[in-house]
């Protein structure tokens, strides 16, 4: 019972982190480490800045519908 509850809780947390993009940084770091081992990994602060700047350049990214 307890383990099922804690699994459900972990599942919800995982889902929320993925859906909101909170896990984007971790994913990016994994990606850079794996694909470009020599490249420098940006800090979380810089990464989040880069992400919003990309959205600014092309507002169609993440556009919401009516």
């Amino acid at each position: 019972m307890r383990s099922a509850l804690s699994r459900a809780y972990r599942g919800v947390c995982w889902y929320l982190r993925e859906l909101t993009g909170e896990s984007a940084y971790d994913r990016y770091v994994t990606h850079v480490r794996r694909q470009h081992p020599d490249a420098e990994v940006p800090s979380r602060r810089d990464f989040e800045r880069m992400r919003t700047e990309r959205q600014e350049k092309d507002p169609r990214q993440g556009f919401r519908c009516c």
Binding site: R60, F63, R64
Partner: protein, 712 residues
């Protein structure tokens, strides 16, 4: 031949029976109150069958999705916008992107023709047109590295049709923004509670933005929870403000709200994304998904009865007060989102294809999300149909028709055959703590009354006013986000177009160009919003049909692109999959445009309306509902603009369809002449299930592969 297990056959027979029972009760009940449960049964039964059989057939037999083919997310993975995303996460993403105010507003307005036409169109429309469009666009865009609809139109149809599609998309964006803003103005006017709590969302979003930028970058979940808590506080505080001496400050006339909204749209769209847009978007996504889940639970628990007629007399007479015109074509353009929405093509080509893990998942993401949106539309229709029909018409008829007093409104509405006493009208407003509910057109207030009815039945009667304002805030929140994001997208299109004339506009970061184009876009939708608010004939009554037409015309563009692609990719014999929805959609929208331009009924045809009012001006008369000569001139100007706009939109889409037809015919005659810009085949290294739940074979396959499926 493959045989189905007896258990499977029994299960799907049961599902079919549930759906059929729902339809039977809805279709055969007359003059008696039907439980909303039957509508839910008809919808869910039909969705399940469509998803299991029709969508599967399209995915595997027509599109021939290939699970061994790598998607752009896998091939072009850059860890940011291109990355393979878990299908359940992407479903949430895609659904949050497509579902907005549209499926909540359209069905409410269409309820004036009764609940049955709306139900049939929402369910049949989504199964055969809307969800098919979303899935097919998603598939083709995935095969083209996530190209946008406009790019696909240019690549596959040609520069001429492509340019027409682009121009149509821009015009449609402007109308969309104006109508959404008009819905907000009608919901917030003279309502200090609503205005205060919506106003508070701006400082809350700024605070969240600051938190994410400076204090704890990227911690979206915690900041969203803080934001939602503050939002609920603002909602409760709205009541205190409305009862305090500050009430006057937040009681705004529609004209004042227009100025505020346009100013907001302009400033928000030139501020950096992190400051207002991004945090507001987190907030509205949380609220959206949360409220939709609550509403679904509320409908299932409360199971209210439908009080609206199945089919009202307005459906055949075409003289309804909410919008003019008869059932065909106007019910089919009033309900756009939820049945068939062209805007979804912009999401299905663009963001989602860059994140999809497997081609086989287009059914779940494209078709499945749209079915979910359709169920939101069904819930909105239920919410509008459970309130007293007399109240419904008093809330949705323009002031020019029912007057501004409860006595007058009661009299006019009773004349239509829906009895409601002045006391009941006053009581309805009082129970949600609003000064008046008369002529609160636009759908949002009606939906809020329905939602408060459902929720207060679950939570006990005392919270009606709270739930009413909760629902208003929920809609206003994501409409404001749409104003900001939509202005940016409109600006982006404009920068692109102007860039052809004057190069620096191409650089989207060029400040003078950015401010100028933002101001232009806000000015354009602001103009229509201003017109809508000052329209003596009722802004929603006049503008909503143009919005519906434009949304459906965009769907026609998307379906034309899909059909062309089916033909060009050697699927000619399946071209009817999108060809029939295209033919239906073109028939509906072009008939509607035709009537809006040429009808001799002044309630429907814009130019006839113009003529009637112009003649009266020449005779020196003032025709009701206009009250002065100024009103008369306003009507003449507005009908001219609206008429020209309807005609231009229809022409643009005829150009796109004709150009697409030309390409298809050329391909059938001389296939060698056409080129297909599909990304070449690359083998996929990812193993992932196609549907929500992994099948036994898929689990087996995943066990053999290494680390492909993210663990939960």
């Amino acid at each position: 031949m493959r045989t189905a297990k007896p258990r499977t056959i029994a299960l799907w027979t049961l599902v079919a029976l549930v759906g059929a029972a729902g339809w039977t009760v809805l279709a055969l009940s007359r003059d008696e109150e039907v439980s909303a449960a039957w509508m839910v049964a008809a919808a869910l039964g039909s969705y399940a069958i469509a998803y299991r059989f029709y969508a599967k057939f399209i995915a595997y037999k027509v599109l021939k999705v290939d699970r061994t083919r790598a998607t752009p997310a896998e091939r072009l993975n850059n860890g940011i916008d291109f990355h393979p995303t878990d299908r359940r996460v992407l479903l949430g993403h895609h659904f949050a992107a497509i579902a907005g105010a549209g499926p909540l507003v359209g069905p409410v307005l269409a309820a004036q023709m009764g609940y049955l036409p709306g139900t049939i169109w929402i369910i049949a429309g989504v199964i055969f047109a809307g969800a098919v469009q979303d899935m097919v666009v998603l598939f083709f865009s995935t095969r083209r590295d996530g190209r946008s609809l406009g790019q696909m139109a240019r690549d596959e149809i040609g520069p001429f049709g492509g340019a027409a599609a682009l121009l149509a998309a821009f015009a449609i964006m402007i109308i969309l923004l104006a109508v959404l803003a008009l819905v907000i103005v009608n919901a917030l006017a003279e309502s200090p509670w609503g205005t205060f709590s919506i106003g508070m969302t701006i400082p809350i979003a700024l605070l969240m933005g600051f938190y994410l930028r400076v204090l704890r970058p990227g911690r979206v979940v915690e900041v969203s929870l803080i934001g939602v808590a503050l939002l609920l506080l603002a909602l409760v505080a709205g009541r205190w403000v409305a009862e305090s001496s500050w009430a006057g400050t937040f009681t705004l006339a529609p004209a004042t709200l227009v100025v505020w909204l346009v100013a907001y749209g302009f400033i928000a769209s030139i501020l950096p994304v992190w400051m207002l847009l991004a945090p507001r978007d987190y907030l509205s996504t949380f609220m959206k998904i949360g409220t939709i889940v609550l509403l679904a639970l509320g409908v299932v628990i409360a199971l209210p009865t439908l009080k609206m007629d199945a089919v009202t007399d307005f459906a055949s007479r075409g003289d309804g007060p909410v919008f003019a015109g008869s059932l065909f074509p106007f019910a089919f353009i009033t309900i756009a989102c939820g049945a068939l929405s062209g805007f979804h093509a912009l999401i299905s080509s663009g963001t989602t294809p860059k994140m999809i893990q497997k081609e086989t998942q287009v059914r779940m993401i494209g078709y499945g999300s749209m079915l979910m949106e359709s169920s939101v539309a069904v819930m909105a229709l239920i919410a509008a149909s459970i309130i007293d029909p007399g109240l419904y018409f008093a809330m949705n008829a323009p002031a020019g028709v029912i007057g501004t007093t409860v006595e007058n409104a009661s009299q006019v509405v009773s004349g239509w055959g829906y009895q409601i006493s002045p006391q009941d009208l006053a009581q309805a407003a009082k129970s949600v703590e609003e000064a008046s509910l008369l002529s609160r057109t636009g759908g949002a207030p009606t939906l809020a009354v329905g939602v408060s009815e459902i929720f207060s039945r679950v939570t006990g009667g005392g919270l009606k006013a709270f739930w009413y304002h909760f629902a208003i805030m929920f809609e206003a929140l994501f409409i404001l986000t749409a104003l900001d994001a939509g202005t940016r997208v409109g600006r982006f299109m404009l920068q692109d177009m102007l860039g052809n004339v004057y190069r620096p506009f191409r650089n989207v970061s060029w400040k003078p160009g950015l401010v100028l184009t933002s101001a232009l876009v806000c000015g354009l939708w602001g103009y229509f919003l201003w017109v809508g608010v000052h329209e003596p004939l009722g802004g929603i009554n006049q503008l909503f049909p143009i919005f519906g037409i434009s949304n459906q015309l965009l769907a026609a563009v998307a379906l034309a692109v899909c059909t062309t692609l089916l033909v060009k990719s050697g699927r000619l014999k399946w071209a009817w999959i999108t060809g029939i929805p295209l033919a239906w959609d073109a028939a509906v929208t072009l008939t509607a445009s035709w009537q809006k331009v040429f009808s001799s009924d002044p309630k429907v045809g814009f130019f006839e309306q113009r003529r009637v009012f112009q003649d009266a001006i020449d005779r020196g008369e003032v025709l009701p509902p206009a009250k002065s000569m100024d009103d008369m001139h306003t009507v003449v100007t507005n009908s001219t603009v609206d008429g020209v706009l309807s005609a231009v939109l229809a022409l643009l889409v005829v150009v796109v369809i004709a150009d697409a037809a030309r390409v298809c015919v050329r391909h059938v005659r001389r296939p060698a002449l056409s080129s297909l810009s599909e990304a070449p085949y690359v083998e996929s290294g990812i193993v992932a299930p196609a549907g929500l739940f992994a099948t036994k074979e898929e689990k087996e396959e995943a066990r053999h592969a290494v680390g492909a499926e993210p663990r939960v």
